[in-house]
Point group: none
C-alpha cells in the first residue's frame, strides 16, 4: 500500500514530464523450440538502448501468484492497491465499450437469454446471438422509461450488453437476477441493504418491461443481470500527486481506466505512431502521459508467438518519436504477462525499465524478463512504480527534517 497522505504531502508540481508506456501483456515465457521469450526473440535496438540507460526490474502486478485482469493490472501501475480499489464487472464492461460512467451510476452486465413458456431459463446466452441482433434489441430496450432515472442500454458483443441506471439515490447492493444455471426462473433482484430497496424496485420493473418487449424475439426473449456495481471511491492522481495526467489509448477500456483516476483523454489515432504523434502535440499541456499499446497482449492471447514478437518490434520502431521528446522520466513495462505459449494473462512478473537523468543505472542492456531480473530494482510490486516515477522526476520533497 502506498501512503497517499504522505504522497499528497511530499508531491509538488514541476515542469518535468513523466511518460508511462504500457505494453499490455508484454511479459512472456520461452518458446519450446528456441528457449527464447517473445522479448528475447524480438529485434528491438531502441528498447534495448533505453534498458541500457535505465534502472530495471521485474514487477509483480498485484502480488506473487496473482493473475490480474486489465483493471487491476493498470490500477497497480497507477499506484493503487488493486485489491483495495477493485473495479467490479459492471463498471469494467461499461468502461470497455467507452461509456462515460458517472460517480453515482449503477452499472450491470446484461445477458440476452432464452426462457421457456414457464419462464425457466433454457439458455443463459440466447445461443450467442449475433452482435447486430444484440444492437437491435438494445434499441428496443432503450424505449423503457422509469421515473427518476435515466437508463442506458448498450450492446457489447454477441449476447452481452451493458446496463447503466443514472439518477439520485441509487445503490449497487443488489443480488443478481442471473441464476447462473438453467432450468430455473431468473431471480427477482433483491436489495442487500435497506438503501438499495428503491434501486431493486426500479431494476425489477425494468426487467418486467424488458420481458414484455422481448416476448417475440426468441431466442433472445429475456434478460439476465449481474455484477451490479458503481465506480470505486478512488482518490485521483491529480489529488495524490498534483499531476495533470493524460491517457493516449486506442481501446475504450484503457481510456476509461485512465479517466477513473483523473486522466484526461487525448486523441489516439489508429496505431502507436499516431499515439506518439498525439503525445508530441499535447506534450506541453500535461506532465504525466499514459500510453497504452494493446497488440502485445492481443497476439499473446491468440497464442501467436511470432505476431507478438512483431508487435514488440512495432513499438521499437516507433520509439524514436518518443525519445525525441526527451521525457524527464520514461517508464516502459506491462500490466501483466501474456505468454503466447499459454494464451492467457498470467502471474509472471513483468519486465520494467525507468530512464531518467537521476536513475541509478544498472548493468542491464536488454529489455527482457531475464535481463531485467538482474536490474537495480530487483523484483517489486507495481504499486511502487508511481513513487519511483515521481522521485525520478524530482517531484517529491524530502520526507522529514
Amino acid at each position: 500500500m502506498i501512503d497517499f497522505e504522505l504522497m499528497k504531502r511530499l508531491s509538488r508540481q514541476t515542469p518535468s514530464k513523466i511518460v508511462l508506456l504500457v505494453m499490455d501483456g508484454v511479459g512472456g515465457l520461452p518458446h519450446p523450440q528456441s528457449g527464447r521469450t517473445e522479448l528475447e526473440a524480438a529485434k528491438k535496438p531502441n528498447l534495448d538502448r533505453v534498458a541500457e540507460e535505465s534502472v530495471c526490474g521485474l514487477v509483480d502486478p498485484v502480488s506473487p501468484g496473482i493473475t490480474p485482469g486489465s483493471a487491476p493490472g493498470h490500477l497497480g501501475l497507477f499506484g493503487y492497491d488493486p485489491v483495495k480499489y477493485n473495479v467490479r464487472r459492471g463498471i469494467v464492461e461499461a468502461l470497455g465499450i467507452g461509456l462515460e460512467v458517472k460517480r453515482n451510476d449503477v452499472a450491470a452486465r446484461g445477458n440476452f437469454s432464452t426462457v421457456d413458456e414457464r419462464g425457466f431459463v433454457t439458455d443463459r446466452r440466447a445461443g450467442r446471438i449475433p452482435t447486430e441482433e444484440n444492437a437491435r434489441l438494445c434499441q428496443i430496450l432503450s424505449q423503457i422509461t422509469l421515473s427518476g432515472v435515466e437508463i442506458l442500454v448498450t450492446p457489447v458483443r454477441e449476447h452481452r450488453f451493458s446496463l447503466i441506471f443514472r439518477g439520485d439515490g441509487l445503490s449497487p447492493d443488489l443480488i443478481a437476477s442471473d441464476p447462473q444455471q438453467i432450468g430455473v426462473a431468473p431471480r427477482k433482484v433483491e436489495a442487500m441493504t435497506p438503501g438499495a430497496k428503491k434501486t431493486a424496485r426500479l431494476i425489477n420493473s425494468f426487467i418486467q418491461q424488458a420481458e414484455r418487449l422481448l416476448k417475440n424475439s426468441s431466442p433472445a426473449n429475456m434478460v439476465l443481470l449481474r455484477g451490479f456495481s458503481r465506480l470505486p471511491e478512488i482518490p485521483s492522481m491529480p489529488e495524490i500527486y498534483k499531476l495533470t495526467p493524460a491517457v493516449i489509448a486506442l481501446y475504450p477500456m484503457y481510456r476509461g481506466l485512465g479517466r477513473l483516476v483523473g486522466m484526461e483523454v487525448l486523441p489516439a489515432g489508429n496505431n502507436i505512431t499516431e499515439q506518439l504523434e498525439s503525445l508530441r502535440r499535447h506534450y506541453q499541456d500535461y506532465d504525466f502521459f499514459f500510453i497504452h499499446f494493446k497488440t502485445t497482449d492481443a497476439r499473446g492471447e491468440d497464442r501467436d508467438y511470432e505476431a507478438k514478437v512483431r508487435a514488440i518490434e512495432e513499438v521499437d520502431r516507433a520509439l524514436p518519436q518518443l525519445l525525441a521528446l526527451e521525457p524527464d522520466v520514461l517508464i516502459v513495462t506491462g500490466d501483466h504477462s501474456t505468454p503466447a505459449t499459454l494464451g492467457l494473462h498470467t502471474w509472471h512478473p513483468v519486465p520494467f525499465m525507468l530512464r531518467s537523468k537521476w536513475c541509478r543505472r544498472d548493468k542491464v542492456s536488454a529489455f527482457s524478463e531475464e535481463a531485467c531480473l538482474a536490474g537495480g530494482l530487483g523484483r517489486f510490486p507495481a504499486m511502487e512504480i508511481m513513487p519511483l516515477a515521481m522521485a525520478n522526476a524530482l517531484k517529491l520533497e524530502k520526507f522529514g527534517a
Copy 2:
C-alpha cells in the same frame, strides 16, 4: 500477509498435483576450510537438475533476521503469517509427541522439578531425570481426576511432560505456575481474564494433587506449568485453496502441524524412500503433498557438517522416485537454515526451487544458497510460496475483469 478471502475467491479444484518437499534446516553457511556450504559440498545431480528446470529464489521463513522454530517455519511454508498464526508452546509440545489436540483443549508444558521443605524451587528441571522415570511419574499423575475435565499427562523427554485439559468452557488465558527462577515458591496459576477463572481453579487443584502424589519422588517432587495455550483459530488449506492436502512425515511434530492446517496424515515408513513410496501409493487421492525430511536439520543441530552433507545426498538419491510421478508443481525448500557451523536454527534465507511446466525458468543450475540468490524469484517471504504453487498448478482464476 496473503489475502485469504482473495484466495478463496480465486482458487479452484483441478486434477493438477503439487508436491512440497521440505528439507528441514537445509540452508547452511560455508565450511571454514572449504568455503562451501553443506549444499555446495553435497553431490546432488538430481536436485541440481531440478534447479535447472525451475524458477529459484531465496525464502525468508518469517521476515529478515527472524529465526523460526519448527512451527512458524512450517506455517510460513503453508501460506500463513507465522506471527499472526502463532502456535504456542503447550500446543507445539503436544503436537511434537503425536497427541491429537482438539479444538477446545488447553495444553501446557510441564516440568518435573525439585522443591525444598519450605516449598521453594531448588531445581526447575529436577536434575533432568531419565525419561523412564518421567514416564513412571506421568502414570502416577494420570490418577488425578477432576470433575468435568479429562486430563492427559504424557511424558516428553527427561523432565518435560505435556499436560492437556479437555472439556467445555476452558480457557488458556492463564499465568504460568513456573516462576522461571529458583529460591521462590511456584506461583499460583492465575486467570488473566474472568472467563479463565474456572480453568485456573482446576489447574491449581491439579497442581495440589500432583504435589501430594509426588511427595516421595524427590528430586521430582513438584510440577511447574507454563505455556498454556489452545489450537490457533486457523483457516484450513482446504478452505482457503480448495485443496485436499496430505502430509508424509516421520516425526509427529510435522504430522501435527500438517493436521493443524487440514492435511490428512499418510503413512511415512522409516525413511525418505519409504515416504516417497507412500506418496506413490496415495498419489491419486490428494492434490497437495507435504513431505518432510528431518535429517538435514538434525545433523545441522549436531554440528556435524559431513553428516548433513550426506543427508542432502540421501534426498538426492531418492529424488528420482518422486520425479517419476511427474508432479505438475514440485517445490523443494526448507523451513529455515540450520548451518552445521552454528548448530542452531538461524535466520538465513533458505534456497527455494519451483518446477512446473509454466514456471519461468532462470539460469540457476544448482540448488544452493548462492546459486538460488540469482533466481527468478529473488528473495521473498515464505508466505508467498502457496500463491505461487497454486498459480503454477493453474489452480487460480484471474483476478478482476
